[in-house]
Symmetry: C3
Subunit: 359 residues, 3 copies
């Protein structure tokens, strides 16, 4: 946490200063809790009142507000807030070279300088770790793994042999990268394992959440594209591909060979059946199930997947199913009565009769 | 496992003895497998026959039964069974002071006495561990973490810097407490990480399952209230709050800022969309999706969420959807026929016609 | 990777050679990427064209094809491909005895010969590890655990005290075997833990995915039968039983006392409510919810669970719910009009009227 003036922070985000740019700021904080040396964030002009009453020394805003403290006007304001937050709370990286004596570095491993290799880490044979990268305690790096520069690998991450990570990758605790894909052939006596001999590539600026699992490809590569972010407890099956700058919220699972384009955004608890493609710029809402390709950009959600505008109405009908059935019973009764009046045999020669389910 | 007489065990749970209170008991067991020095449990009087045929030395019952062996009558009987089970199988805690030579204790860490710090553990700078607490092998405790007294932290748990645990907390293997919440701002070139600078507080008597993930707050605190229990593979997003004595069965995910009251009970595989509140004493059935506040106590379930009594009927209708559609087709045919008879144009000036979906 | 001739590989899988059996093969590969010393795989005769254009030295086929390179004809061809793949990429096992100096072996542990105990492993008191078994770095084996021969335990797996593994078991990184089941009794002041004093048995040839969690039984045994395969992030509750040669794709959760027969196959993201049975040879599609017994073999899917053939139609209707409701509104209007014509009070004495939901 390095203190900075309001003007310096504004420079950092290409923002304008309104008020005293010389004020010294030491941290970001919630408007309700901020003190006079902290800077808060007004997400929306409608929260201007909150800012007025705040003790914050300064505020970050998207458009100028009538508030008593200095303002940094920047757009988008949330990006400015994030960048100023990162100034005070940078992602931990290696700034001095430090290999803990309890760490095990196997033959042929190549460590850049500086790197931090924490206690109880294992760096496998011939693995390479780029300068600036920090391995927190208990990280297990397999043989022939390549990790780029300025990465942050949190405790107890496991990286299987041969997996490749780019630069500035962040991996949270407990994640497993490169475990075998789930593939078996059925023989007379049981399942025969199909060896999973492909690899995993995690490109630059990816962030992976706690206890994520990413399987290696059967043949070829499971790839997480540049800038993509996956939240906690996400499972990525063998041969999946994420394009660049995607984001998937937590507790989701993508079966083998799900291919996402660029900038795809997925809500939490989305499941894909695999062997399908999702185009660039698709946005898939939470709790969706993907059973086929998504061929258009835009907002989709549900099971079966549909346009977001439609899903709200579908949920509305789902909430009324008992009443719908009751109404349909009344109508059916009336239909029978009418048919009897006309002397027809019920259901005779009517469309729909033939496709009644067998069971 | 300390042997005890039936009378001593009855005292432990405030129960009454029927029969020989001096009988020595060495363990709890299933009625079908119990031997003459073991005590079984009759969940319900309808299982009295099972007790009669059992070789168990004694039984725990809610109401007196006609069985040949000594009984401990206690209510609720399952609580008595749990407490007597814990007498024979106490949760492992530190009873002697023991820091394994392979453990790494960083500068300024403060260990109570006695504590057990298992092999390959790492206790970060300035962390404090209360007396009676046991860290099983491979636990990683970050800097400035505070762990209370008599806690049990199973192997390979990761506790990020600054997280606070109360007393008698149990955390199962592989759980990750305090990883970054999932927050990014969208900039022209991609996602910018919003630093997650809040913390996590786990209050007294909480138990967390294997491979659970609990994210730290963006600003403020992610809190798991006193006595709350979370099962395996549960994801708790940033700024979530669980009140006291809640329970959430496994494989569930709560998106950011889901706020649960006290004594909320959640079945397995429940997902919350976040930024919502659930009142005290709500009970949410398994496989539910929470998209809005739950403002009443009682039993709710489903997607969309509804009263439990209603959900059974909704499932019933869901199971009949193909037939419903077929019936509706027949009715539609009839409607068209009637309208033609009357000379009206089909669908003209009828309610419902205007809100037919566009696509 | 041991090179072998086409004829030797054919012998390995009981296949026939067409063409030059003396050709030396060094690896398996994708047909599109294979070189002249590699063998590819033609899944289906319709891919013959791909094989013709491939640079692969040889191919594995189910039925003879007109291709320029030597063929191994074997049925089923995918089993032959798997076995030949395993020849070149065998599952890592211990072939030399090697206990890393950083590993901690506690009193009374018994190691077969050869075994590999990787860096930072902990083998608990009285645990036994069979010959041929490999513990990758950071594996934690509890007291009294028994692991059979030729097992492969990937990094950071945790095996709680008393758990038993058979021979040739593979466990991927981060899996937790034997954590406490989720059981509490509700007392006046909160939950009382029901001690989980049963065990877990993993039989021969089981493979468990990354970050899987398998809870120990309350009393008795949680059992994963011989040859069964579980994918990543699968949760198995206390007292569950999998029969032999089952397979469950990733991101699934089975609540306590779910009992699967033999050869049950489960798609991804299947959830079971527990205390239910699924017969031998049932196949449950992805995203299903099991709330009751499955008493027939065959294909089932959905929520509520139904025959696979029917679920497709149910999804079709689900996709049309808004239109269905619109149509029903039109019909309702007509019904009301007809009833008014007849002078009846709407809804009087009609079936369905009485079971309209209360709220």
């Amino acid at each position: 946490m390095t203190a900075a003036t309001v003007a310096e922070l504004a420079d950092l985000v290409g923002g304008q200063v309104l008020g005293d740019g010389a004020l010294r700021i030491t941290n970001v904080a919630d408007l309700r809790a901020a003190g006079p040396s902290e800077i808060g964030f007004v997400r929306d002009p409608k929260f201007a009142e909150l800012a007025k009453r705040s003790r914050a020394g300064a505020v970050i805003v998207g458009t100028p507000l009538e508030v008593p403290m200095p303002q940094i006007v920047a757009s988008p304001a949330d990006v400015a807030f994030a960048k100023i937050g990162l100034h005070f709370h940078p992602v931990p990286r290696a700034t001095r070279h430090e290999v803990h004596p309890s760490a095990v570095i196997e033959d042929g491993a190549v460590l850049g300088e500086p790197v931090v290799i924490g206690p109880q880490c294992v760096v496998g044979a011939r693995a390479t770790i780029g300068a600036g990268t920090l391995l927190a305690p208990g990280v297990i790096v397999g043989a022939d793994v390549r990790i780029g520069r300025d990465c942050t690998i949190y405790p107890r991450v496991v990286i299987y042999p041969g997996v490749v990570l780019g630069d500035r990758v962040i991996v949270h605790a407990g994640a497993v990268l490169g475990s075998d894909g789930f593939g078996y052939a059925r023989d007379v006596g049981g399942w025969v394992k199909i060896p999973q001999i492909g690899d995993v590539r995690i490109e630059d600026d990816v962030e992976l959440g706690a206890n994520v699992t990413i399987d290696r490809a059967t043949l070829g590569t499971t790839r997480i594209g540049k800038g993509t972010k996956l939240d906690n407890l996400v499972h990525v099956g063998h041969n999946c591909v994420f394009g660049e700058h995607c984001a998937a919220a937590g507790f989701s699972a993508f079966s083998g060979s799900t291919i996402f384009g660029d900038r795809v955004v997925l809500g939490g608890h989305v499941v894909s059946a695999g062997h399908l493609r999702v185009v660039d710029d698709a946005r898939i809402g939470g709790n969706s199930v993907l059973y086929g390709d998504v061929t258009e950009a835009g907002d989709f959600i549900g099971y079966p997947l549909q346009k977001k505008s439609r899903w709200g109405r579908t949920l509305h009908v789902l909430a009324q199913l008992p009443e719908l059935q009751a109404e349909l019973r009344r109508v059916k009764h009336l239909r029978r009565k009418l048919l009897e009046t006309e002397g027809d045999a019920p259901d005779a020669d009517l469309p729909g009769g033939s496709d009644a389910p067998p069971g």
